[in-house]
Symmetry: C2
Subunit: 223 residues, 2 copies
DNA sequence: GTCTATATCCAGATAGAC
DNA sequence: GTCTATCTGGATATAGAC
């Protein structure tokens, strides 16, 4: 060991990768919570235990750090999505499975969902819950099912994918409001998430099974 | 006219209601664009032509002004919604009409949709795109249609309403991302909004027409 | 690589003249 | 009711020692 190394040991523990990770973790949590403008570098410094100036040293600026946070979140999102448990499209049950899988996947990835929502409002079209690869992946599964004749083929696979994502993401985004609404109406069911999912699956499943008929007046009662 | 009035005339035009409206208008636009933390009172002052201190004089604080902006937006949203053109539920066409009406209604109320999205992220459950009265109104129409036997009755009206809102609000929220996605895939259709709406209406319409059958393997091709 | 200290600016809010 | 001027704190970012 050279003299320099001995000297370095006296300095506070050096672990650049660990430090960067600590900063990114704290920043991600805070940005997801309060958005870019709602968080100060000081906040991140305190939450991560790393000094302000070191944050600037590693990332250059608050905005550059934000971009790094989002970039890392995209990677993790995609990694989790391809590694999720999944079933092969052999029958129509796969469709319900797909809807349900995505629904719970969104719940389990609240942080990135919030990050992407902030990003969307800020006009950033890079990070988003659909995330190009994930959405194309889903759409492709639907396409294949259509080719096999499992799903109606007169709806666009991509558009159907967006609808499925909408049903899940919207629910988790505004869930507190819905809970509040139900409470005000006097009902507050225990398994509200399952209940919503069951209803959505019902409707979507029937919706993708059959071709659309022409809509004609078909009153059940005469008036 | 008393001497006092003459003196007052020399002061810059006094129009408290006009001033307040100018402040609210500018604030609403900016808050919708950049969120609460992304806007300074100075920004609002410059955009409205009203001095900072006068803003504080009229609203007390930046946060109180924000609340006023949201409150006014709720009122306007609700007012617009009850005054929209609507049809009576005489046949199943009313359902497609309802979905389409809401879809374009959301497009035409971008400011309040953005405001409510910011508010949602900030943890405010008062302002939201569903907005209690509006969502109950929609759900009631669906309930009535169910009683008339126009829609399947084994799905909850409120849950169905939420799904319908999800389909529209999610689309407009992430529309720029979808446009970008389509472009990257080599397709960029002209009437993408109409296209999405057509697909959604198709699926939802079929989805609400029939009772759910038990899901059994029903392969079209044998494998 | 990591810290303390600090420069510089801008934020929300107030004082007080008119 | 409306303005100009100002207070005070907190923001991002940098300088420079170790």
């Amino acid at each position: 060991m050279s003299q320099d190394d001995v000297l370095l040991d006296k300095v506070k523990a050096r672990d650049p990768e660990g430090t960067k990770r600590a900063i990114l973790d704290a920043a991600e949590k805070l940005f997801a919570e309060k958005g870019f403008s709602g968080v100060s570098v000081r906040d991140i410094s305190e939450a991560s235990g790393v000094s302000q100036s070191l944050i600037h040293h590693h990332f250059g600026s608050k905005h550059a750090l934000y971009e790094e946070v989002k970039k890392r979140a995209i990677d993790r999102f995609w990694h989790r999505w391809i590694n999720r448990s999944k079933k092969m499209p052999h029958d129509l049950g796969f469709f319900a499975d797909g809807v349900e899988t995505f629904f719970w996947f969104v719940r389990d990835n609240e942080t990135i969902m919030r990050l992407s929502c902030w990003a969307c409002l800020e006009g950033d079209t890079d990070l988003w819950p659909g995330e190009k690869e994930a959405i194309e992946y889903l759409a492709q599964e639907i396409s294949q099912a259509q080719e096999k004749g499992l799903l109606r083929s007169d709806v666009n696979a991509l558009m159907l994918t967006i609808l499925i994502e909408a049903a899940s993401i919207f629910w988790w985004q505004y869930r507190p409001n819905f809970i509040k609404l139900f409470e005000e109406m006097g009902k507050s069911p225990e398994n509200i998430d399952e209940w919503y999912l069951k209803n959505v699956t019902k409707v979507l499943l029937c919706g993708v099974m059959k071709e659309t008929r022409e809509i004609k007046p078909q009153n059940n009662d005469k008036d």
